[in-house]
Amino acid sequence: MTAEASGPKAPPRQLDVMICDDNIMLLEVLREVVESEPDMTVVATAQNAEEAIRLAGRHTPDLAVLDVRFPGGGPYAAREIARRSPRTGILAFSAHGDSGAVGEMRHAGVTEYLVKGATNREFLTALRRLGGRLPKS
């Protein structure tokens, strides 16, 4: 557990989020959804695995939202992000709800998985849970 949940006065530190999706429309709306929350900031966006891995190494964000079918390979990106920035929690966000895709990401060490089409609230809840701001499901 992180230490910042201690003092009654200290506001919780912002959660730094990196968003990785090759669909520009989605990338933009995800950024907006995250930015409109007071406790989260988008620190980076990436449209392919190489970019995502590089930015993860530079920013070591608290959270990364990662498309499963990502140019360069979602599971590959997940493994590399975890290697460069072990503190980053990864939320797999995918148009695929089938168990094969879920298993593939789980194999790469991803624990949070959300199918595209979930509501913004579900998306934010998953992020906060992963960021340690909510009890584990």
Binding site: V33, R69, G72
Partner: protein, 403 residues
């Protein structure tokens, strides 16, 4: 044998002669086989009705001529007739299939057996030759092979097209609609009533459409069949689709190895159709799927506990579905059957051979645009074991019960 005493003198030879005459009549009368003899040098010394029918020569036209007359010039040039006699002498017999020439110069496809005939002292007395005209059978086999080849082409083309559409819908349409839905939710949070409610309603409609589109892409292309194999694809289909119909399901599988991609698709599509029939017609509450390796192939069974009414053959879909299932199985060289027992349910059962194939495996299965090129797809997935063990990437246990 209780033969009469030799004292009678004439009894045995007479009977022997009668039986030889009958035998000669048989040989001469048979129409389906050309049966004739060659002298040790390969010249024709006897002829029957079948040989006349097949080759077109009368006995008086052909007896005394060399049997290489029946061979095409290229075979004669290659000394094939002579080699066939030599082989028959060395090995006792020779069997061959190939083109032969009739009297009118036309060709026919022949099955030929040449047997070397030796007397009691081991001296070569000549050859027996039996010829069958296989032209029609060969044509029928070729027509069947051609039919199967065309069907496989059709299936492959159809699958590739479905897959392309599925990926397009997945990668583009669904993503865009998801983005639209999320933006509508953002807007709904910023707008006063009544706009907020209206936007929320719009978002709801968009998300329902996304769900329907996702189900459509699942039906169009079984997710994971080319990357995770047949068992995984069937498991997903049961949990993602069949469960949504409210059917309880079980799945038993004992397969020795992953079938070829074509076979996997054949089996998946038949099972998919059979399950759709259960959903639409059987009024069943549970369905049992089983898959096992039998006789160099895969035996699959889909059994429900429904009303067991046979499918209405006049209903277009039911009829078409049955035709398609049977056609798919038979084109793959297997069989397909449907048993209905009123009150006891319906069982669809089919077997398709799955021998390691030579030509089919050469056809690459197009992978997904993004992941297919990834180092992960190359390294990680290539090593995954057949899904029957139920560990690793596959979340499916060997037997899975629905809720």
């Amino acid at each position: 044998m209780t033969a009469p005493q030799d004292s009678s003198g004439t009894g045995r030879p007479a009977r022997r002669q009668a039986s030889e005459t009958a035998f000669t009549l048989l040989v001469q009368g048979v129409l389906d086989y050309g049966i004739f003899m060659l002298d040790p040098g390969g010249h024709i010394s006897s002829w029957n009705a079948g040989a006349e029918r097949i080759k077109g020569y009368r006995a008086d036209e052909i007896i005394g001529r060399h049997f290489s007359t029946f061979y095409p010039p290229e075979d004669v040039a290659a000394q094939k007739p002579q080699r066939e006699l030599e082989t028959a002498v060395a090995e006792g017999r020779l069997e061959d299939e190939g083109w032969r020439i009739r009297k009118d110069g036309s060709r026919f496809w022949a099955n030929v057996v040449i047997t070397a005939l030796f007397d009691e002292d081991g001296v070569l007395r000549g050859f027996g030759k039996v010829t069958r005209d296989m032209t029609e059978r060969r044509a029928a086999e070729q027509a069947l092979t051609e039919h199967r080849r065309l069907f496989e082409h059709l299936v492959r083309g159809q699958e590739q097209e479905r897959q392309r559409i599925a990926w397009d819908v997945h990668d583009d349409t669904i993503q865009s609609m998801v983005a639209v839905g999320m933006r509508l939710q953002l807007l709904a949070g910023r707008m006063p009533e009544p706009y907020a409610a209206e936007l929320a309603q719009l978002d709801h409609t968009v998300r329902d459409a996304v769900t329907r589109l996702r189900n459509l892409t699942f039906r169009l292309h079984p997710p994971g069949i080319d990357r995770h194999g047949l068992v995984e694809a069937l498991t997903s289909h049961l949990s993602d689709v069949v469960e949504s119909w409210g059917l309880t399901h079980s799945f038993e599988h004992r397969i020795d190895r992953e079938p070829s991609p074509e076979r996997a698709v054949t089996i998946f599509r038949i099972v998919q159709e059979a399950l759709l029939n259960v959903h639409k017609h059987a009024n069943a509450s549970r369905v049992a799927l089983s898959l096992e390796s039998v006789d160099n192939g895969l035996l699959t069974r889909v059994k429900d506990d429904g009303n067991g009414r046979p499918l209405d053959p006049t209903a277009y879909h039911g009829h078409f579905g049955v035709m398609e299932m049977r056609e798919r199985a038979e084109s793959a060289g297997g069989w397909w059957s449907l048993r209905s027992e009123p009150g006891a349910g319906t069982t669809v059962e089919f077997w398709v051979p799955d021998l390691p194939s030579t030509s089919e495996d050469d056809v690459p299965t197009p992978g997904p645009a993004g992941d297919g090129a990834s180092p992960d797809a190359a390294a990680g997935d290539g090593t995954s074991p057949p899904a029957a063990t139920g560990d690793g990437a596959s979340p499916s246990p060997a037997e899975e019960e629905g809720p």
